[in-house]
Amino acid sequence: MDLAYGADYDAFREEVKAFIRDHKHRQPQPGDGLRSQALKDWQSVLIEHGYHSRTVPRDYGGYGAEPDIIKSRIISEEFGAERVHRGFNGQGVTMLTPVLLEMGTEEQKQAFVSPTINAEIIWCQGYSEPGAGSDLASLTTKAELDGDEWVINGQKIWTSTAHHADWMFCLVRTEPDAPKHLGISFLLFRMDTPGIEIRPLVDMTGDANFNEVFFTDVRVPKNQIIGERGQGWQVANAVLGHERGSLATPDAATNRLNGVKRLMREESISGQPIIDNPVFRDRLMRLEGRVLAMQYNDMRLLSAKINKNQDVRLAKIIVKLIGTELRHEIECLGIDVMGEIGLSYGDNPHVKGLGSWQYQYMFYLGLIIGGGTSQIQKNIISERGLGMPKEPKMSAAEKAVKGA
């Protein structure tokens, strides 16, 4: 057990600190949007210094460093501690870029990587469909080849940045007769292609965090495909795992827990500081114990990435299930301790700097469901983590009876 990063890394940390000190004033301000010059400039500065797209090769506009998890962690820690803008990290950056680098043609890499990491192309992801939430293999949006073009018809849902995006990377069924997992292709296309309609999908928070996207005879050049026809499932899966882990980071949970703690110290009900209420304090401490467990679990995962000598399969696949649930419960405590005032929402002046517990409470319920419901997570944990059998498939006869 050695929790120190060592002298070289300490030096690197100083570099990062110095960078932040010197450049902090140039970061985008709250009002600056996705399309602002301020964001683009900041993005360039970050890439130039290796604090964004660090391992993307220089040939494609990145910084070109070797992967180094500890350096990534140090950057993350220092930017987090100083609350400095991390640059744009949409789905194009986090999910498509690795796919392009691994499976794209040279031409595709040249065309897309640099504009993507420089926030010149904003992407959205078209995976989920209304009939295929936890079950991507049964997606039905289809693309048929007509001359030199794919013609797409169907619908996507849970498309988070569709209304801001320039392009979409999308899974479509191209071989309707192939077995389910083998008939899918991975296409790229512009969002202003005729036949695309975007409808915002308002959710329980009242915001439209997601969209539905409808395709009617959308025509896409034949070569805008990553990988081979029918390999889209494999292409997408190469990065899907990445998404699942990132929904529930223990750092954020720690921050929110400390937020509740602050709230309980600062606020009083009937003249008594909330922290003096032993029942709420016990709930707080109970949650703190759970947060600590996830925090050290995360350090173990980080260490396993660096040292590659530990089996952390189980420690990894439980993070989404436990982490999202934990966040949901932390937010619930934030609500409960405030009594009636805990109901405040939106423009209610009592929401003030306390943070919107109700918003996060609902948003984290969304995350418990999204990216594989808790039920799917438990299936995965029992099957991949504990070696238990898969759900038996129904016989054909029964499908006929139960289906339809």
Binding site: I157, V202, G342, M362
Partner: protein
């Protein structure tokens, strides 16, 4: 011996539910949530059925029914996520004004023409700054008053005095909460003239207890709706070639919801009945019913949303209106911890 609803109560339940399913469709809730339309016509309709005057004596134009009837109505209102001042005007204010002998407004309240809101923050859980009274004039702020459209408010001070004040005499700022089917506001008093209703702290406590029993029923209704929806949705929606309701995990989620919820029905009936019989255990039962339903309701609200998958998280099915109503009930008139503490105090287990 019969533990259950009478024929009259079953008819009442049936007619309220029929009215609500016709008059409060999801679209009406959506409009109200969007700040369009009002609950005025629904409240008038409910008043025409006698519901606004459920606790008001016939002599004052009321239906002179009992708390068990109020509980039956509240369950139906919760099931429909129905807006309106039932809790404030028809239950808490009606009870308090009647008991205090301040019977003047009762007839108009029973007719659905006069709404009386509740501003009890200083008694439920005071924050910095309380409302003070001097020479029948109020000063200060009441942070959390319901409803926002009332014609007058009952304001309870920390010392147990209750005063009634016309809405026109106060500055009223509407407060956004998660629940758009109920309205809440902040009242600011500036030497505002008010009228003493009672200085009997016991009456305030009794009004709050009755409110809690009714709220427990409201949560039961809302949670029952969410369970019904979850079962129905799970039998429609398919994943992996099966209706999701055929997966054991989903079946067990529904079974757990039903198992926790079903005993609550008898519980809230008794909570109402105990007031009608003036049973010794009425106060403790009301506290327990409120706190227990807050916990069960929260479990059902979350679990039903999960059974709905992504659809549960969206606005499309409107399920969240019930989720939020249950969340609102959880906090209103005291969080579960606070209410359980009171149940302990009532039994002499602590001060």
């Amino acid at each position: 011996m019969e533990f259950g609803l009478s024929q009259d109560q079953l008819l009442l339940d049936d007619s309220v539910r029929k009215f609500l399913s016709a008059e409060v469709p999801l679209d009406a809730i959506r409009s109200l949530a969007a700040g369009e339309g009002s609950d005025a016509s629904v409240w008038r309709g409910l008043a025409d059925m006698g519901l606004a005057g459920v606790l008001i004596p016939e002599a004052h134009g009321g239906a002179e029914m009992g708390m068990l009837d109020a509980v039956v109505i509240a369950e139906a209102l919760g099931y429909a996520a129905c807006p309106g001042p039932f809790l404030s005007t028809a239950v808490m204010a009606s009870y308090l004004l009647k008991e205090a002998g301040a019977t003047d407004p009762l007839a108009r309240m029973a007719a659905g023409e006069y709404r009386v809101g509740i501003a009890f923050s200083d008694v439920i859980g005071a924050r910095k700054g309380q409302v003070t009274e001097s020479d029948s004039k109020l000063s200060g702020q009441s942070l959390f008053a319901f409803d926002a459209e009332a014609d007058a408010y009952l304001v309870a001070l920390a010392d147990g005095q209750v005063l009634m004040i016309e809405a026109s005499e106060v500055k009223r700022a509407s407060l956004t909460t998660i629940d758009k089917t109920r309205s809440v506001c902040e009242l600011t008093f500036d030497a505002s003239p008010a009228c003493l209703v009672t200085d009997d702290m016991a009456l305030v406590k009794q009004a709050i207890l009755r409110g809690r029993a009714v709220q427990a029923a409201d949560t039961l209704g809302a949670a029952q709706y969410m369970l019904d929806q979850a079962v129905a949705y799970s039998l429609e929606r398919k994943q992996f070639n099966r209706v999701v309701g055929s997966f054991q995990a989903v079946k067990h989620m529904c079974a757990e919801m039903a198992s926790q919820l079903e005993p609550c029905r008898a519980f809230v009936w008794y909570a109402g009945h105990a007031f009608d019989e003036a049973s010794d255990d009425a106060a403790v039962t009301a506290c327990h019913a409120k706190a227990h339903l807050a916990e069960v309701g929260q479990f059902v609200a979350k679990t039903s949303t999960e059974v709905h998958g992504g659809m549960g998280f969206t606005d499309l099915l409107g399920l969240h209106y019930w989720f939020k109503r249950i969340g609102f009930n959880r906090q209103l008139l005291g969080s579960p911890e606070a209410v359980r503490q009171e149940a302990a105090v009532l039994q002499g287990l602590c001060d």
